[in-house]
Amino acid sequence: MSVPGIARGPLRAAYDVVIIGAGIQGLALAWELARRGMRDICVLEASYPGAGASGRNGELIRSAFASREWATLFDLSLRKWHGLAAELDESTLFTPAGYLVIASTEAQLDLCRRSADRHRELGIKTALVDETAVHRLVPALAARFAVGGVYQPDGGFAHHDATVWAYVRAAARLGVEVHAGTTVTGIRLEGGRIAGVETTQGPVSTRMVVDAAGGRAREVAALAGVVVPTTTQRLEALVTESVRPFLRPGVALLDLLGYCHQTTRGEFVGGTERHGIVPPDSMRTTLAGLRDAAAKFTRAFPLLRGIRVIRQWAGIVDVSPDLAPILGPAPGVGGLWLDCGWVYGFMGAPGAAVLLAEAMTTDRVPEALAPFAMARFGLGRPIVEESLVVDSAMAAGASA
């Protein structure tokens, strides 16, 4: 069966660049490279495009982070998101419905206040909002749930599968070959440089490889002898039946370690963080995860009590010690690039792809990209970002 955007022919003997992983990172990068005139780009995907975290995430998009590094990268990304559908000539179903972080305690509000101060310094348009304003933005929120929050009006959400396939088709139109069902089994080095990759469809010669393998990025890097200091964590989310619009912005609930939004077609999509139930690389869902999310979201939004869950999913993320992505050339292996360690990968992909494509086509690392180099861990210079909605177990797992 032929699928638009997926290569039909066999793998060629050689490519200029081989990107491992047809998630949103690999696909966005392929498209950005092709736009910059690079030819003979191949994306290898063990499963199907978006099979990993790119098709299993909360879909939220913001740039309101509290560190310069995160804010710069994600603001570039957010600006890309606003014009992405027009650029790709494909719909991403991006909705600039706003992004609201809700605080339920004074301590959480303090965190929001500090974030808003940082946003002002960094030039990101957000507003610290009080209890009344939160309830006006989210009328469905339970009474007295919020004491305030921080709101980014031009944040929002997109549809993950729509975006993944938008990139697939747009990249294919520029000559990128996306090979699904093709697993990389080895990386060939010659004199400390990339020489090619071994795949289940035969060997391929190339001078440049990008590791964008998401939850499997650590294993892929190991094929080239590179140790990427990440751990695998799983996240679960649920989707309800479709109902009339009741929730406009994307929402993060600090008190619940939860995030949610309502899609254009009316489904409520939300996830809560909960760890240690099943092995961290399992993509199977748990009843405990379902119960946790159901209990928390019905507390925040009482009207959800009457709405059925129709789907549940689990996805895995590749968590770095400071929870920030690892972007740039891999140390010690010429021609190997890293695009991994993502926890906020869906929202960050369009921006990261621009920076990485610039670096790969000009051999000059853009200023915004430099802090995300893997070398930061060896130098003891992790990126400190305080406004992530993750629980302590994930942070502890990451630094362990």
Binding site: T95, E241, R265, S282, R284
Partner: protein, 368 residues
Amino acid sequence: MSPRVTFTFDGREIEARDGQTIAGALHAAGVRTLSWSSKYRRPRGLRCGTGACAGCTLVVDGVGGVAACLTPVRGGERVERIRPWLPWLPADRLGFLVPAGFQGARWLRSARVWRRAERLLARLAGQAPVPDADAPGFAGPAVVGERAVDVLVIGGGVTGLRAAVAEARRGRSVLVVDRGPEPGGRLLDQPGGLGRARALADRATAAGVEILPAATGLGTFDEGVAAVVQGRQLLEVRAGRVIRATGTLDREVSLPDGDRPGVLLATAVARLIVRDGVRPGARAIIVETPEGVADATAVALLLEGAGTRLVGRYVPADVQAIHGRSAVRAVTVAGRRIRCDLVLVAGGPRDADELDRQAVVPQETHVS
């Protein structure tokens, strides 16, 4: 003559016989359109009769998502359809504005236009009202119960009940859960089957088996529990063994405009006749695949007994058009227009293997 009860449907009073399902009583009252498809608001109605499709999904006493084909009339309930916004809008004829999947290439060139279009599409798509959490159907809190048994049987048909009896006679504690209002499964589609189903259930109960009706097995999870939902209760069952005896469902067959109200799968027709005592239509045609011939033949006999005139049997490739928007009026087959108010689709059985796909825990077994 069984006692009669009444309920309201969109404000109109409907009479039902005790034991009838909501779908059966509405069918008897001539109501065909029970829902509208979410994007193109195509009228839909009773279709599968097994709770496997969304055609007869109604709001009962403020609680949405109720499969009318599985829900007996109690009497006095308020039943409503989920009306879409602007229900008269023939969105399926405005396909150039609302392309498949709302992918919206037409809108996206201008961010501002897309933003407005997106809000409009959201209203068109998200059609179900947000349920009123204070509605009578929500009386009482949602509760979570826990149970531990030796054997959990999902599906209370002949196979499930027999397996349950066998397990109980070996001294094991057995819980049987079944989606329907009472156990029996396929027996309930056969004339005289109700008595046999009740006898079998009595035998199981006598052997110490506990039977939970109107309870849906949601799945088995890696924590080693199975989830069962019964009304407002979530039951977490820790079972030494889970036997999935979910039986079969009807295979769908794709026909032009084959989603019209009045196009029914074989099981739905059988249940209308046998369980609800309703004549499913005045004039029926049968559309059957080779796998569906046995089902079609069995239901044809039931139709004859119910007083429905059978006006033809065809294969899917013969069907060129199904006429009528909110109810079937005629079918064009092999160039000939045939008047009918019921199209019976027999695609043959398929395994109801959804739970098998959800669970991949090796020690479990599936018996058809």
